[in-house]
Symmetry: C2
Subunit: 172 residues, 2 copies
DNA sequence: CCGAATTGTTTTAAGCCTAAAATGTTTTCC
DNA sequence: GGAAAACATTTTAGGCTTAAAACAATTCGG
């Protein structure tokens, strides 16, 4: 094919994009690697929590949210923070109330709202688990230098922003 | 306290580590951010797969593994690659065989082993989904420059190695 | 003030996931 | 050859998770 024709095609970037779809293999590999890292670490933490404290990761995560909120949280708050569905939280809270780790009461001012808090037992157990949990995380990331950590934090913040924008584009 | 005493204490790094536990807040925040990113993207992909193709993410992931293995894989292979339990794969495969996407047969040479493959239908559907999936991922990571992507790949590779070493230390 | 939209939670139905025990098969090694 | 170890898969029991529908309470607008 003559050079002139090639040149014409190259200038029509609109058409070119349609005809030769872009290659996103790098982003795909990045996503898979991100997923692998998370799955690996999550599985490790899950196993250690079960072995050492006979507790599940979701229960631990929920208690972690409540530990940061001494005045309690509503179920919706928890659901948003943990990025899980409402119904999921309902069941999780049910079991933790049952085991005496959580206290649930209906709000005085808005009878739709359930406010949950850690009980004394719940807080004590969480603190004990959290201290050990922190050392596990440190160990899992042990090979990273402080600079690596900072750089990862920065890039993941950028990734989070990018993903949030993309999600918002689809669901405005 | 006199300077001399301070100096003595500082030199005894063994003792110091025990008396003042190290601060791993940065690693903890890094882990939470990593988890947030993954959860965010995973949720987005899950939702799009359901809306566009009425398929679940685990099914898609399983088909993705098989697409890379034209000669099929054993259930154990799949289980290791996907980093999920054996029993999980059994159920997943059951449903995909039922829906006509997978073909399962007992190995001729080893009657313990089940070999699974994509059917023609399964492969066609997967390819269709995968093409679109790739554009979603590209969009979710759109704000990252090629340099960002390379740097993240490098740091996540290091993270993966670190976590694997840590896991191996616990379970040799 | 009252109907309609909104908000917070629970329920439902289905599927995903795990750890551990059970089952069936092959290999190892005396 | 045969017991024992190793391996691949399935089963079991329990918990997690989601989307969507249902329910309950509050707020908003006319």
């Amino acid at each position: 094919m003559p050079a002139v024709s090639d040149c014409t095609n190259m200038l029509d970037s609109e058409t070119k994009a349609v005809e030769t779809p872009e290659d996103h293999a790098e982003e795909l590999r990045l996503w898979l690697r991100l997923l692998t890292c998370t799955t690996l670490i999550e599985g490790e933490v899950r196993g250690r929590l079960r072995q050492r404290f006979d507790v599940t990761l979701p229960r631990f995560d929920l208690m972690a949210q409540l530990d940061k909120a001494p005045d309690g949280m509503t179920l919706s708050d928890v659901s948003k923070r943990m990025m899980v569905s409402n119904g999921n939280v309902t069941g999780l809270v049910e079991r933790l109330v049952e085991s005496g780790h959580l206290d649930r009461r209906t709000s005085e001012t808005d009878r739709r709202v359930q406010v949950i808090r850690l009980t004394k037992l719940g807080r004590a157990e969480f603190r004990r688990m959290a201290a050990e949990h922190e050392t596990w995380i440190a160990d899992l990331f042990a090979d990273l230098t402080p600079k690596d950590v900072r750089e990862l934090m920065r890039l993941l913040a950028k990734t989070k922003g990018s993903a949030q924008k993309s999600a918002a584009r689809r669901r405005p």
